[in-house]
């Protein structure tokens, strides 16, 4: 279930843009409000839903398995340290859950990318992802497949 933004509630603060691990929450160029530019690539982590200070982000199931009529809404109350969830099923059933906020401060588990070094061209073109292999707690090299060994032809 990917996320989407209620434009009437969004004030364009950028918290969802900042936190999205998939880098798909961006600012619309016409109205300067947040928008999920690529719902297909949504990890469904709901970081943006929980981070939004205006409760402007909602969750929408794909039409094939969750037809219209249901909803998943989140209320974050920072001063109480709680995240409340309201799940509404198509048949009208409602379920409410309250969980503690477990967000860790930036820099503890989530890297402060703005303070990090910019990757060089070699790192950008490398098959390794950011912080690999150290981030995986692996000593030594990761296996890689050289590009010239790729099978010739069309890849899908």
């Amino acid at each position: 279930m990917s996320t989407f933004v209620y434009m009437t509630r969004c004030d364009g603060c950028g918290h969802c843009v900042d936190i999205c691990p998939s880098d798909i929450m961006h600012i619309d160029e016409n109205i300067r409000r947040a928008v999920n530019i690529e719902p297909n690539f949504c990890w469904e982590c709901y970081s943006c839903v929980k981070a939004c200070p205006n409760h402007a982000i909602d969750v929408r199931g794909y039409a094939d398995f969750a037809p219209m009529g249901h909803s998943v809404r989140v209320r974050r109350e920072e001063e109480k340290g709680t995240i409340s969830w309201k799940i509404k099923f198509r048949n009208g059933t409602e379920k409410n859950f309250v969980s503690p906020i477990t967000t860790k401060p930036w820099g503890k588990f989530i890297p402060k990318l703005a303070e990090g070094e910019k990757p060089n061209e070699g790192e950008i073109n490398s098959q390794r992802l950011y912080t690999e292999p150290q981030g995986l707690n692996i000593d030594g090299e990761l296996p890689s497949v050289p590009k010239d060994s790729f099978k010739k032809g069309v890849y899908y």
């Binding site: 509630r9 600012i27 016409n30 809404r73 109350e77 309250v98 503690p100 860790k104 930036w106």
Partner: protein
């Protein structure tokens, strides 16, 4: 300079009624632009459909007194202080720009209609309000545009990247800046620069008010409406489908630690 009405000197070249017609034309452009935008974008239809849904989901009906109280509280707290933006620089910049713009526009109307034509009394207070309003608009607006814009702060785009959403703020800043420059050069006795900035001032006004349909100008109308609807929905229990408030004490723990969105 601050206490001199810049429109008085203008009235020596152009008739005061022509200036008044220009102001009325700008007001007309706002009305037309907003109506066309409402028809095309269907935002009012969405707003009323949402209100209907909220009414159906309401857990209790609000009395007229309670409704008026909520609306009044929303106007005083949410709208007058742009509470939606939370605490921080964005809110300060917005409040400064908002009140600056209101003072600038109200003073423009008062000066043009009551203190510009020949034979009308000279005011010291209203020109000062006009200048202070323009300065506040510039301070709040440039602060927002150069440093606090989400494109710059959270998206890491350079400040000089201009997009369609900038039409409103840039046209407003152009109005205030060229207005101040026009007043300054008129006061300094530099007619060429004064005329140049007068032409730019008129042009930026036409862009600002003529571009209502394409720009974010109408957020001044929609945002207060949305704030009122949001608070009414909280009070009647429909809560825009949101879960109820958690039954937990305020403990201001780790969850309160929110940093500025600039970790790109």
């Amino acid at each position: 300079m601050m206490s001199i009405n810049p429109f008085s000197a203008l009235a020596e070249i152009i008739s005061s009624s022509a200036i008044q017609i220009f102001v009325l034309a700008m007001l007309g452009l706002i009305v037309i632009g907003t109506i066309v935008q409402m028809i095309h974008h269907k935002n009012v239809t969405y707003f009323f459909n949402n209100a209907k849904k909220a009414k159906l989901a309401a857990e209790r009906e609000l009395g007229i007194g309670e409704k008026s109280g909520i609306i009044l509280k929303t106007i005083v707290h949410d709208i007058a202080t742009t509470a939606e933006l939370g605490a921080g620089k964005r809110r300060v910049a917005h409040v400064m720009g908002m009140y600056g713009t209101i003072l600038f526009w109200v003073a423009s109307i008062v000066l043009v209609f009551f203190y510009t034509a020949q034979g009308t009394p000279i005011s010291i207070v209203w020109p000062m309000i006009w200048h202070i309003g323009a300065i506040m608009t510039c301070v709040g607006g440039y602060w927002f545009w150069l440093f606090l814009r989400v494109d710059v702060l959270a998206e890491a785009h350079p400040w000089y990247r201009i997009i369609k959403a900038d039409l409103f703020v840039l046209a407003l800043l152009a109005c205030a800046t060229t207005g101040l420059a026009w007043s300054y050069f008129q006061y300094s006795g530099l007619p060429v620069l004064s005329y140049l900035f007068l032409v730019l001032f008129i042009t930026s006004n036409i862009v600002l008010f003529g571009g209502v349909y394409w720009s974010k100008f109408a957020h001044m109308i929609y945002k207060p409406g949305a704030a009122i609807q949001k608070n009414l929905a909280e009070a009647d229990g429909s809560r825009d489908n949101l879960p109820p408030l958690a039954d937990a004490p305020k403990q201001f723990g780790l969850g309160i630690k929110r940093e500025q969105p600039k970790h790109y």
